[in-house]
């Protein structure tokens, strides 16, 4: 077996055996799923049942709402005007949680106000909206058309028009999706920072252990270096794969077990809302009401994103790995190495900034520069492919990736030269003169 592969697997085994690796294997996905859950739940806070008083002085609704009673909402009718202050303060109305005002203007301006004491949760809002709109629809049909209610609903189609600038694929409508790309880019940089630092640490440990000379008698320094780089890459992929599986599992658990009512309208308690009914409300699914849920479950094409993520991850890891290797080889001991990792972290921070800049100014000159600059192109490309690109744009992204891998390979060759001398040098101080001296040798 190729010696680099043997070294890579040894590195992988060491990483897997590490306590922090095992810990991050579960904590990372747990944090992500928890964050998603919190985002989803943030739209679902508030009271879950209400006594709603309908002020209907013109008896528009004729004291009825739905054909049958629903859980969580109880309607009461009041055939007179109720002042806002009276509802708020009068002891007579204190038992009611909300007031719906139906005055005579409602037929013209089609505007209904619901005053509540405590904020209803998302489901309750949906129920109220759905039931009031349906009843209002019946009233309007009766007053203004000769159609039957069922006939009217058959011909009623919601019309949604999205305005998209052909030169601006990152329009407001897609901004949320772009954030998903940014988040994935962030995860990519996070993994590179963690596992890149491990390359430096591993080199330092090998020097401290004095094992390097034993190993170098059996393998070339280049093989040892590549083994370390690939071993850490394998470890990061393994962790990433575990994260993807665990996060997917977590999302499935969220969708199926913990908050199913947010995903499948059929499970809505009390209100049996069909897909057709949702369409009548102008929504494809209930989740459209909840933006994070809509992003996570409907707007992102994971089958497209994951391969691209792997591609950009490989390119970005490759170029940063050379830097981490140089730092490990140049430093005399572990503390020395840690100290000089700061410039790499600054470069990684620049990548984070490049992503943010792409979100804010997608067409700026700086974004164009970042999309080809090898250290930042991975992040920018990630955002672009998440939002969606044309074939031509994608070819541009692949070209940027090619530049990234080429520059990365040049730096790897440079790193190999430094590594060859650095791996056998112990307890020296990091210095630029040493760097150039090793480069010349």
């Amino acid at each position: 077996m190729n010696k680099s592969v043997l070294i890579a697997f040894r590195e992988l085994k060491e990483r897997i055996g590490n306590r922090s690796f095992k810990l991050m294997l579960f904590i990372g996905p747990l944090l992500i799923v928890s964050m998603i859950y919190l985002l989803l739940e943030s739209g679902n806070q508030g009271v879950t049942s209400m006594k709603v008083l309908i002020s209907d002085p013109t008896n528009l609704f004729e004291n009825k709402i739905a054909a049958r009673t629903t859980e969580g909402v109880t309607y009461y009718f009041y055939e007179d005007y109720i002042e806002f202050d009276a509802f708020k303060n009068s002891p007579e109305f204190q038992e009611f949680d909300a007031l719906i005002e139906l005055n005579e203007k409602v037929l013209i301006n089609k505007k209904v106000f619901l005053f509540h004491r405590e904020e209803p949760n998302l489901q309750l809002k949906m129920k109220l909206k759905f039931e009031i709109e349906r009843r209002m629809e019946e009233v309007l049909i009766e007053q203004f058309t000769s159609l039957e209610v069922d006939e009217f609903r058959k011909i009623k189609q919601p019309l949604n028009i999205d305005f998209i600038n052909v030169d601006d694929p990152y329009s407001q409508a897609d901004n949320g999706v772009a954030w998903i790309g940014y988040f994935l880019g962030y995860i990519m940089i996070f993994f590179i920072a963690i596992f890149g630092t491990n390359i430096t640490k591993s080199i330092n440990r090998e020097k401290m252990n004095r094992i390097s000379e034993v190993i170098l008698a059996s393998v070339k320094s280049r093989q040892l270096m590549l083994g370390k780089i690939f071993g850490n890459l394998l470890a990061s992929f393994l962790q990433l794969f575990a994260w993807i599986v665990l996060v997917a599992l977590g999302l499935w658990v969220l969708q199926s077990l913990i908050i199913p009512e947010l995903f499948t309208p059929e499970h809505l308690t009390g209100v049996q809302v069909s897909d057709q009914q949702l369409k009548e409300l102008g929504m494809q699914t209930m989740t459209q009401e909840n933006m994070p849920m809509d992003l996570v479950f409907h707007r992102v094409n994971y089958w497209w994103l994951i391969p691209n993520f792997i591609l950009f991850f490989l390119g970005t890891y490759w170029i940063f790995a050379s830097f981490f290797t140089i730092m490990g080889a140049m430093s005399g001991d572990e503390s020395d190495g840690q100290q000089f990792l700061v410039p790499i972290w600054i470069l990684l921070s620049l990548t984070i900034f490049a992503g943010y800049n792409t979100l804010s100014y997608p067409d700026s000159g700086l974004t164009t520069f970042f999309s080809f600059f090898p250290w930042t192109s991975g992040m920018v490309s990630m955002i672009k492919v998440t939002v969606g690109v044309t074939v031509t744009q994608y070819l541009g992204i692949l070209f940027a990736w090619f530049i990234q891998v080429s520059v990365g390979s040049a730096f790897i060759l440079l790193a190999a030269r430094i590594f060859q001398h650095g791996i056998l040098s112990y307890s020296h101080r990091f210095s630029l003169s040493l760097f150039f001296s090793w480069l010349r040798k």
Partner: protein, 306 residues
């Protein structure tokens, strides 16, 4: 046979090795000695292909040193270590595999050596849980478990207790018996005396001496003899009168002495015997050959003053 021809190594302006020519015979134990910083480690690293010589070349059995030789070399460096997080058996298998053994052969060889050194019960333990002596045994096993033809040992005895020193020396001798070539670098001259067939002394990057141990001792002998005798001390001194110098005398009992004498004109053993046997009753006459420690000091001091 290992042929080292005109090998030099420069680090920028510094010359670490300066035109070393050396031939090491197969199946011998070769002692590579020299003071710190003399260039021994540089030469060893060149032999192990860790670094390349700036000039010159190395041949093994007439073939230029190449990647294929990695499998046939075993190397225990002075600065040696182990992966502390690995288990003993895993570590040995790993070392054997990067030397070119298959997984099953590596496993078989590791178990054989673990049994031989009686540390098999520790095979599942992590390296960082081993005592220093135990870790050194593992390092030694890691050097030889792929059955190399050339074994290079740089200070292999440092840190070992006397029992383990004997164990390692026995193994080195056994390797010689099995036809292996052992290059043995050490500052411990007693062990050089004990096990080496040939010695090469490196100083300031140059090979300043290379010969059989016995030849070197012969070459550097000082003409000293140890004599134990019974008789009159004055008669003994008179017999020495013109040709010998009395260095030291110790009284062992009544009319019983042990002296060290030094010949002035290079007299041989028989001459000494003939000179003394008629004057005193000789009990012991032994030529005092210098130890490697003395030869080392003499050569290094002499070379440094040149």
């Amino acid at each position: 046979m290992i042929e080292i021809a005109s090998v030099s190594k420069f680090y920028n302006q510094k010359r670490a090795l300066d035109g070393v020519d050396l031939t090491i015979q197969s199946g011998k134990i070769f002692g590579l000695i020299g003071p710190n910083g003399a260039g021994k480690t540089t030469l060893i690293r060149i032999l192990n292909q860790i670094i390349e010589p700036s000039t010159g070349h190395v041949r093994i059995g007439g073939v230029p040193l190449n990647n294929g030789h990695v499998k046939t070399f075993g190397y225990l460096p002075e600065e040696r270590g182990l992966y502390r997080e690995m288990k003993v058996l895993d570590h040995l298998v790993f070392l054997a595999r990067i030397r070119g053994l298959s997984k099953s052969d590596a496993l078989k060889a590791s178990n054989f050596w673990l049994d031989k050194f009686e540390i098999n019960p520790w095979s599942a333990k992590r390296i960082d849980s081993l005592s220093k002596g135990m870790a050194q045994k593992v390092q030694f096993i890691g050097t030889v478990l792929h059955d190399p033809n050339v074994i290079i040992l740089d200070e292999p005895l440092s840190g070992f207790d006397p029992l383990n020193i004997q164990l390692i020396l026995q193994e080195i001798k056994a390797m010689k018996k099995a036809g292996k070539t052992v290059i043995f670098s050490t500052h411990n001259m007693n062990s050089v005396d004990e096990i080496c067939d040939e010695v090469g002394l490196v100083n300031q990057g140059k090979l300043v001496a290379h010969d059989h141990v016995s030849a070197l001792r012969e070459k550097h002998k000082t003409g000293a003899f140890k004599v134990r005798y019974k008789g009159n001390q004055i008669a003994f001194a008179n017999a020495l009168w013109t040709g010998f110098e009395l260095i030291h005398t110790e009284e062992l009992g009544d009319q019983w002495f042990q002296s060290v004498i030094k010949s002035r004109h290079g007299e041989a053993f028989n001459d000494v015997y003939n000179t003394l046997s008629s004057s005193v009753e000789l009990q012991l006459l032994e030529e005092q050959l210098p130890g490697m420690q003395d030869i080392f000091l003499e050569l290094v001091t002499h070379h440094s003053h040149e």
